[in-house]
Amino acid sequence: MANLRDIKKRITSVDSIKQITRTMEMVATAKIRRATDRIVAATPYALAMIEVLEAVAQRANALDSPLLHTHAHFKRAVVIVVVSDRGLAGGFNANVLRVADRFISSLKSRDIAADVIVCGKKGLAYFNYRKIPVAMSFKDQSADPQIAQARKIASYIIGAYTDGSVDQVVIFYNHAKNVADQVVTTEQILPVDSYAFKEFGEEEAEAIHSDESAKTAAASYQALTEARASATGIVSAGRVGGDFDYEPSASAVLEALIPSYVETRIYHALLDSAAGEQGARRKAMKAATDNAVEMVTTLTRVYNRVRQGAITTEITEIVGGAAALEEE
């Protein structure tokens, strides 16, 4: 039988772990809201850009841009992996890394080289340990992605794709489906699929929509409604005027827009992953807190039983002793 003091010690330590995990859960909850706000703030730009792109693509011959061309030979790919800087988020990082690793291996088996761009310390550690060369890496930015980061990645891949050294660019990240669920998502960034413009726009609109449930829970419904209203307002502006004059020319505008589109997609993947990270962490920490609560209950029960056992033994001994004295 474990002794009383040991059990007491365990209860105290589980209790303090519980306090830590509960705090982390609350911190993550607050950060989810910030991350969702950021997605909402970035959405008007993305929607407006898609709208402009669609309008221009109709006018210019979309196939003029080198970023829309599929290369004839497929020799080298760039894999962008977006994970977090910190752990304690359940399977958040492991899921993305596993899928990305499998993809890289499958490329290798077809004799296609893969360059890796990593966002997040956890990913950097993973690839360094496996001795997979990393072309570019970002750390300490996973919780607060900046447009500059997306810009750097975009300019690197666009440069490499245009000069022909890279034939495909794929991004792996966690899409925050809602506050609790993250889905590992794979998207082809380059060559740009011109049919995907519309899809991306719809996704964005849907993203705002699905954020709604999260936001209602977070009680800042109003901000979202406003953001949504402003986003739709912008979109409709594009639809009104049909015949635009293009300066310098429709194809030049398209040429300039596509890199921005690539940048925007990467930026949104980073934002999405940041929101997912907090969601995953909250879920993991909630599970940890629940487990700790359960453990404290069990341990307390054991503690009481042991204590009661000791008391019973003591009483039996006293009664036995007294009876022995009386008999004398």
Partner: protein, 135 residues
Amino acid sequence: MANLLKCDIVAPDKMLFRGEGVLISAPAAEGDVGFMHQCAPLMSILRRGSVRIKSDNDEMRVFAVDGGYIEADGSKVVVLASRAIDVADIDPAISQQRIADNQQHIAQLPDGDPALAFAQSEIAWQQHLLQLKTG
């Protein structure tokens, strides 16, 4: 007000301005353009410069933009700026600090480093902000 033009200025990470103006000028690819109510639809690339919005009570709002796109259809102007800031929010001390930081950064970089171009464009942008702020 029949002669007002709606205007949105959006940067990748947020919406900077949403309002109305009588006259809106922007640095389009082939020279500065002014927009008024019922203007011809135009879609253009923007240069680095400033977007000015004159409201119906003659107030002027100025935004620094670092390239992007502009779309105007006669009733509404949408500015998609790749980077933008309200001139009133520019802090010269911060700009000067950024210029100094980046110059130091450039000095340490080897020739041909991709980060070089970023640092240089950051310096040019901050200098542009300073120039707009000080007039």
